[in-house]
Amino acid sequence: MKKREEVWAYIVVMVFALLVMAEALSMQYFSSKVLPLILSSLIFVFGGVGLTKTLLARDESGTTATQDETGSGKEDRESWFRYSLVGAWVVGFFLAIYLVGFMVAIPLLVLSYLKTHGTKWRVAITFAVLTTAIVYGVFVFALKVYLYEGLLFS
């Protein structure tokens, strides 16, 4: 893992701890704020120790984050691109459920995932329809689970 990324990870942890501390201080009673304050202080200290160790390790090794990245920069970008693609699909699935509900979102998103991964139309459509049918059969019909109908249909 890149040291710069690790530094950022510890900074995020410390900011989180500070936010918790600020929120805890605004609470009404001592007994409700004492545990969050102790825990967030400990996390802040641990984050600080981690950050210092990472920064010192960088100084000792004499490398910089930019130097570190040049070797595998292209590989990293490709990896990020693939993560973004799947991540975007997950977020798309979430938004589709919000708008049109599970029973419409499922075939749409299964189809889109299979098509973006090079599956033939006929196979993709069959699989999407089959998945929707299984979901309906198992969850709605057999288990009597209510599935969200979406903003447009509810």
Binding site: F16, A24, M27, Q28, P36, L42, I43, K53, V86, Y98
Partner: protein, 500 residues
């Protein structure tokens, strides 16, 4: 007390329903154990939303069925394809795959599955014996002791389950903070609710578990694609499988030692199966008369790690049920399932619900046996499961995860929680923060605060001055000193060697 409870637990096996749930768990454990990347953790996370539809006698055998076989199944791909289905099979392929290359795949598989199944059985026998020893300890535990037991559990998982100790502790602390979300039970003050009604009850357990464990693994599987592109026809001779089974009995000493090592490591919270298999492999090699042959494809190299990986579960299960300190990630999720079913591990599980505890130990026994038998019969077909393309698996499993997150409470905002914790889980996976530690902190946080309050009110600021609390504090401090002390000693010996 124990024997009548044991007999009562045995009576559950007269119900067909219990067998069906065990079989369903075993089947899921085998499928998820074989597919690289999709572990038993993911299988259990996906099942969590449906726990509320079941009774404890239905849900818990299902979960234990998964635990009992996922490590057994991982050996199939490790031996036949050189890809460990789970991390706990990593040592198996050192000798298992060379055996396949030498044409002894069937023998390796026979030995692996028999030793794995029987390792689970040894651990169950040990766990049953330990129940007698654990009972007096359970009755002596007070609220103050529970505070430190919870802290010790989180510390063990954070420190010993690999990766950075600091990151593990941060994860455990963050989990505890997340558990504080909602109305404070003592003062009624809303904490970290962001002004919403949704968070007054805190974050729902289901979307948190699914987000932390299932979503990151599914996304990673989607990014990575299938590990196994194609599989040549696997032909396993029954004669070879039988030969492997006989090998376990020929090397019964190695099998027994490795199983006991697995059990002991399982008892220690946080030390995962990966440690157990390499410790067992190491001791097997050290005590072998022909240690130079280890790694070249010998059957002992398969028996040692496989006996240990399943044996670990018996030890982990007992500590989870008796003390509420889970020994592994799977046990953290089992603990979550117990909480969802309204069962608090500890005294309740060892007294009123002792038959249920013993049933779970018996289910582990049956599951280990069934899993090994099914694997022996269906190994070539199970190996083919690993070749299912990721593009088919990812949308299918993701659909189930989204439905599961929503179905539990039928709240759309649970899907938002799922996405947020999915992102958190993905970041934690990438940057090496310990996810089981966060989940354990989150699950036990409520109890931690409650016990702390009771102990403080009952015994004042010196509530920790009890023999059990002081012992637990000592063990926890020793745990933190162990790593730095080992490093210091290593540095000194290095300096000594340089001077010499």
């Amino acid at each position: 007390m124990v024997l009548p409870a044991f007999m009562e637990a045995l009576q559950y096996f007269t119900h067909l329903e219990v067998w069906l749930y065990i079989l369903a768990g075993v089947a899921l454990g085998l499928i998820f154990g074989v597919i690289p990347g999709l572990t038993s953790l993911v299988a259990m996370s996906i099942l969590m939303p449906f726990v509320f539809l079941m009774t404890p006698e239905q849900a818990l055998p299902l979960f234990i069925g998964i635990c009992a076989v996922s490590y057994t199944a991982g050996a199939i791909t490790a031996i036949l394809l050189n890809i460990p289905g789970t991390g706990a099979s990593a040592a198996t392929l050192i000798d298992g795959f060379p055996m396949t290359q030498k044409g002894e795949g069937a023998r390796a598989l026979g030995a692996a599955l028999t030793s794995s199944g029987m390792g689970g059985i040894v651990s169950v026998i040990l766990a049953l014996a330990m129940v007698f020893l654990v009972l007096p300890l359970i009755f002596a535990i007070r609220s103050a002791d529970l505070v430190f037991l919870i802290l010790m559990g989180i510390s063990f998982i954070a420190v010993l389950s690999g990766g950075s100790m600091l990151k593990g502790l941060i994860a455990g602390g963050v989990g505890l903070i997340i558990s504080l979300t909602g109305l404070h039970v003592i003062t009624g003050v809303p904490r970290f609710t962001l002004g919403t009604v949704y968070l007054l009850d805190g974050y729902s357990l289901i979307p948190v578990i699914l987000g932390l464990f299932a979503v990151p693994e599914i996304i990673s599987t989607g990014v990575r694609g299938a590990l196994v592109q194609q599989l040549d026809k696997v032909v396993l001779s029954m004669q070879g499988v039988l030969e492997g089974m006989k090998d376990v009995f020929r090397h019964w000493g190695l099998w027994l030692r490795s199983s006991i090592i697995g059990y002991i490591i399982g008892v220690i919270p946080g030390v995962g199966a990966s440690t157990a298999i390499f410790v067992a492999y190491g001791q097997g090699k050290q005590t072998s008369k022909h240690s130079e042959k280890w790694g070249t494809g010998i059957v002992e190299g398969v028996i040692a790690p496989e006996s240990a990986n399943n044996a670990k579960e018996g030890g982990a299960l007992l500590t989870t049920l008796a003390l509420g300190i889970p020994g592994s990630g799977e046990m953290v999720i089992l603990l979550g399932a117990l909480m969802m079913l309204g069962i608090v591990p500890g005294i309740e599980m060892m007294t009123v619900r002792l038959p249920l505890s013993l049933l779970l130990i018996q289910v582990l026994f049956v599951g280990s046996f069934l899993g090994a038998a099914i694997c022996l019969l269906l190994a070539p077909y199970l190996a083919r499961v690993a070749t299912i393309p990721a593009r088919v698996l990812v949308p299918l499993v993701m659909v189930v995860v989204f439905i599961g997150a929503f179905a539990y409470a039928e709240r759309f905002l649970d899907l938002v929680t799922l996405l947020i914790f999915g992102l958190v889980g993905l970041a934690m996976r990438k940057y090496g923060f310990n996810r089981p530690a966060l989940l354990l902190g989150y699950i036990l946080g409520d109890l931690f605060e409650k016990y702390l309050f009771i102990a403080y009110r009952a015994d004042g600021p010196l509530f920790f001055m009890t023999p059990i609390s002081l012992s637990v504090i000592f063990v926890t401090i020793a745990l933190f000193c162990f790593g730095p002390a080992r490093k210091l000693l290593a540095r000194r010996s290095e300096r000594g060697a340089k001077k010499a």
